[in-house]
C-alpha cells in the first residue's frame, strides 16, 4: 500500500482497526519501556552522563565544519574516500558511481539515512540486487514494506506473518518446511543470508557515529549482520548524515553509555564496530575499498534555527517507545521514513510542513518523549512550534483558526471574558449536571465526534480562585 504523510488521519484510523497490527503492537509495548527503565535505574550517573552528552553534541554542532573537515582528513589518511551529498539525489548518485556497472549484489546493513534518501529504489533502478541483512529489515524487504520503527523495523509484524512470508519466499532455496518457532525462523534467515554474505560485491552500512579524531565510522548492532556486510565484500560504503560526527573516541564513549540503554535496555549492544579505511597491507580480510558518503539533506539549514536541538538525536527510538500515539497506530501511519515524536519533528522539516501538517498534531503533549530523550531534545516544544507555524501559515483547520481568533479577541477583554465564560459555565454546568459530560455539542462536533466533553463543575476558575483568597 502506498502511504503518504498527507493521509495521516485516514492511515491512523485504518491502523487502529487493523487487528493484526494491534496484536503486534501490544506485544512490543511494555518491553522497550520496562527494559529501558531498569537499565537507567542501574546507572546512578545517568543524569550526569546525559548532561555530558548534550554538551558534547552542542560543542560539535557549534564547530561542525571543523570536525567534518578533520574527519575527512583522517579518512583520506587511512586510505578511504569521502563523498559529499547535499541532497538525496546526490547521495544516491554517489553510491551508484562507487558501485559501478549493473547487476551487482549489494548487501545492506541497517541504515535510516539510506531509507531517507531512497537508496534501495535507486540501486534497483540501476539494475542491482539489494539484500537487506538485518533480520527485521530482511523481513520487511520480503514484505515490500518500509520500516515502522527506527530500531525495530519489523515491530509491526506478528510471528505468524513472518512464518507465512518465509514459507512463500524461501521455497526457491528449497526450504519448504513451515517454520513457526522464533528460533527456527531466525535460523532459516541465518541460513539464507549466510550464502548472500559470502557472495556479494558491495556492502553498505550506516553509521551511528563518525569519529573526527580517527576517521572511523561506527555501527552499533546486535546481530552481527553489519559486520559481515562490511568485512566480506570487496567494497564497503558507509552512508551517514553530517550530524553524526563527534570529536573523539572518548566522546563516543559517553554517547554509547546512553544509546543502548535508551534503545533496548542493554548496557552495551553486542557489537560496536569502528571501521577506519580499507584493509591494511598485511590484513588477511576486510574490504579493499572504503567510502563514506556524507549526506546533508537539509540538516545544515536546521543548524542554529529553532529546530537545531533535533540535530542531537542519536536515533535510539526511546521517544517512539514512550509515545501513546505511536504505540496505538504504529509507524506506517505516519507515512514517511521517521515515525513517532522525532519523526513528527523531522518529517515536516525534510519534506515541507505543508506536506505533513497532521504530524505535529499527532501528539497529546504528555511530554514523555522529552523526558526519556537521552539527548534532552525538547520534542514537545518543537512540536508546539510546528503547530504555531501551521497556524501562522494558515495550514491548520480554518474553523480552529477562527475559534482561536475569537477566543483571542475575547481574552483581551477581561471583563467581557469573565462575563461570557461565567454565563457559559453556569449554563453548560446546569445542562450537563446529570450526565456529567456532553456526547455532542453544536459548533464542537470536531471534539465530540471522537470523545466526550466533561461538563463544567459549578463556577469558572477565576471565580473559584477569588473565593479562596
Amino acid at each position: 500500500m502506498q502511504r503518504s504523510t498527507s493521509e495521516f488521519k485516514h492511515q491512523a484510523e485504518v491502523a487502529l482497526q487493523d487487528v493484526t497490527l494491534q496484536r503486534a503492537m501490544a506485544k512490543a509495548k511494555g518491553g522497550f519501556v520496562d527494559k529501558r527503565r531498569v537499565a537507567v535505574a542501574r546507572l546512578p550517573e545517568f543524569e550526569q552522563i546525559r548532561a555530558e552528552a548534550k554538551a558534547i553534541k552542542e560543542h560539535t554542532l557549534a564547530h561542525l565544519d571543523y570536525y567534518l573537515d578533520q574527519f575527512e582528513r583522517k579518512v583520506l589518511e587511512s586510505g578511504g574516500q569521502v563523498h559529499w551529498a547535499r541532497t538525496a539525489e546526490q547521495a544516491c548518485s554517489a553510491v551508484l558511481a562507487i558501485i559501478g556497472g549493473s547487476g551487482k549484489q549489494v548487501l545492506k546493513g541497517k541504515s535510516m539515512v539510506s531509507e531517507e534518501i531512497g537508496l534501495n529504489a535507486a540501486m534497483e533502478r540501476a539494475g542491482h540486487t539489494v539484500v537487506e541483512t538485518d533480520l527485521g529489515e530482511y523481513i520487511i524487504q520480503l514484505a515490500d514494506e518500509p520500516p515502522s520503527h527506527i530500531i525495530a523495523p519489523a515491530v509491526h509484524k506478528t510471528r505468524d506473518q513472518i512464518t507465512a512470508l518465509f514459507h512463500a519466499e524461501h521455497e526457491k532455496y528449497g526450504l519448504t518446511e513451515l517454520v513457526t518457532e522464533t528460533e527456527d525462523i531466525v535460523n532459516e534467515a541465518r541460513q539464507v543470508l549466510r550464502t548472500k554474505f559470502l557472495s556479494s560485491d558491495v556492502g553498505i552500512t550506516g553509521a551511528n557515529f563518525l569519529i573526527a579524531e580517527t576517521g572511523s565510522t561506527v555501527i552499533v548492532t546486535n546481530e552481527g549482520n553489519g559486520d559481515l556486510t562490511q568485512i566480506l565484500p570487496r567494497i564497503h560504503i558507509v552512508t551517514a548524515s553530517i550530524e553524526k560526527v563527534v570529536p573523539s573516541l572518548d566522546d563516543m564513549t559517553v554517547l554509547l553509555r546512553l544509546l543502548a540503554r535508551s534503545a533496548t535496555g542493554q548496557e552495551m549492544s553486542s557489537y560496536n564496530t569502528l571501521s577506519t579505511g580499507p584493509r591494511r597491507a598485511d590484513d588477511q580480510d576486510g574490504p579493499e575499498e572504503f567510502h563514506v558518503v556524507i549526506v546533508d539533506n537539509g540538516r545544515s539549514e536546521m543548524l542554529g534555527n529553532e529546530f537545531h536541538d533535533m540535530l542531537r538525536c542519536i536515533r535510539c527510538g526511546a521517544c517512539l517507545n514512550h509515545c501513546p500515539v505511536y504505540s496505538a497506530i504504529g509507524g506506517h501511519a505516519y507515512g514517511w521514513v521517521y515515525p513517532g515524536p522525532m519523526g513528527s519533528v523531522l518529517t515536516p522539516l525534510m519534506i515541507g510542513l505543508e506536506n505533513a501538517r497532521d504530524l505535529p498534531n499527532a501528539c497529546t503533549l504528555n511530554g514523555r518523549c522529552g523526558e526519556v530523550c537521552p539527548m534532552s531534545i525538547p520534542l514537545p516544544d518543537m512540536l508546539r512550534t510546528l503547530r504555531f507555524k501551521e497556524h501562522e501559515r494558515k495550514l491548520s483547520n480554518a474553523r480552529a483558526r477562527w475559534a482561536l481568533k475569537a477566543w483571542g479577541w475575547l481574552a483581551q477583554r477581561p471583563g467581557l471574558y469573565q462575563a461570557v465564560t461565567g454565563v457559559m459555565t453556569a449554563v453548560l454546568g446546569r445542562i450537563g449536571a446529570r450526565a456529567g459530560r456532553f456526547r455532542s455539542l453544536p459548533l464542537a462536533s470536531g471534539w465530540t465526534q471522537v470523545r466526550d466533553l466533561p461538563a463544567p463543575q459549578g463556577a469558572t476558575f477565576q471565580r473559584l480562585w477569588r473565593k479562596r483568597q
Binding site: 564547530h63 565544519d65 566480506l232 553530517i242
Partner: protein, 214 residues
C-alpha cells in the same frame, strides 16, 4: 560550479554565522578525556568483567596459566559436543600453544566452513563485560563473526575498568587505528521476531572467554 562539499560547508558556516574556517582547533573537553563521568564499578574490575559478560550471555573459564588454554578449549568442545576443527588467530598469545596433534587447526581468515574460531583480545572492559578486538595479520576480523562458536583468550592483566582506559591503551600502543576495532559484548542476538531475544542471529551463537589469571 561549486562542489557539494563547498556548498555544505558554506551552508554550515552561514548557519553558524561564521564566514571562514576556524583558525585554531576549538577548545573541547576531549583534550582532557579524564573528564568523562565514569560509571562506578561495584566490584574489582576482573570480577566486574566476568559478571557483566555473564549478563550479556557470554561464558567464562578462569585458568591460571597460558598453557591451560588448550585444556580449557578441549573442555569447551566436549561440553558442546563439538568436533576439534578450529580456525585460530596467529596472535602471540595463541601461537605459543601446542594443540593436540589430532585436532584440525588452520590459521588465516575464517571461511563459511569454519565452526569454531579462537582469537585474542586487546583488552577487556569491566564496565560492560566488553572485549576489544583489533583486526590485523594476527587477528582476522572474520574470526569474530563467521564461526558459530567464538572463543577469546584474554589475560586478567588486560582487563581495564572503563572504555576510556582501553582507548588510552590503544593510543599508546598503535600509531594508527587498525582497519577494524570490534567491541564485542556477548554473542550475536536479535529481537526482531516479536521482541523475543534469540541468540545466534548472524554472528556467533556462543561467546566463550578464557581468562588467564597468573
Amino acid at each position: 560550479m561549486s562542489s557539494a562539499r563547498d556548498e555544505i560547508f558554506a551552508r554550515i558556516r552561514r548557519s553558524l554565522r561564521r564566514n571562514a574556517a576556524l583558525e585554531a582547533p576549538p577548545v573541547h573537553r576531549s583534550q582532557a578525556p579524564e573528564s568523562n563521568v565514569r560509571p562506578r564499578l561495584e566490584n574489582d574490575p576482573v570480577e566486574c568483567f566476568v559478571e557483566k559478560l555473564h549478563i550479556a550471555a557470554g561464558t567464562v573459564d578462569r585458568v591460571t596459566a597460558i598453557s591451560d588454554v588448550v585444556q580449557a578449549t578441549a573442555d569447551y568442545l566436549a561440553r558442546h559436543a563439538l568436533e576439534p576443527r578450529l580456525v585460530v588467530a596467529e596472535h602471540l598469545l595463541i601461537k605459543q600453544l601446542t594443540w593436540p596433534a589430532e585436532w584440525k587447526i588452520h590459521t588465516g581468515p575464517a571461511t563459511g566452513e569454519d565452526h569454531i574460531g579462537v582469537g585474542a583480545a586487546f583488552a577487556g572492559v569491566a564496565e560492560t563485560g566488553t572485549l576489544v578486538m583489533l583486526s590485523g595479520a594476527d587477528n582476522p576480523t572474520t574470526l569474530n563473526f563467521l564461526p558459530d562458536d567464538h572463543i577469546v583468550v584474554v589475560s586478567a592483566l588486560q582487563i581495564v575498568a572503563h572504555l576510556e582506559d582501553a582507548w588510552r591503551l590503544l593510543r599508546d600502543s598503535v600509531a594508527t587505528m587498525p582497519r577494524t576495532v570490534n567491541l564485542i559484548t556477548g554473542p550475536s542476538r536479535t529481537a526482531d521476531v516479536e521482541q523475543t531475544i534469540q541468540l545466534g542471529a548472524h554472528g556467533p551463537r556462543r561467546l566463550h572467554v578464557i581468562l588467564i589469571e597468573d
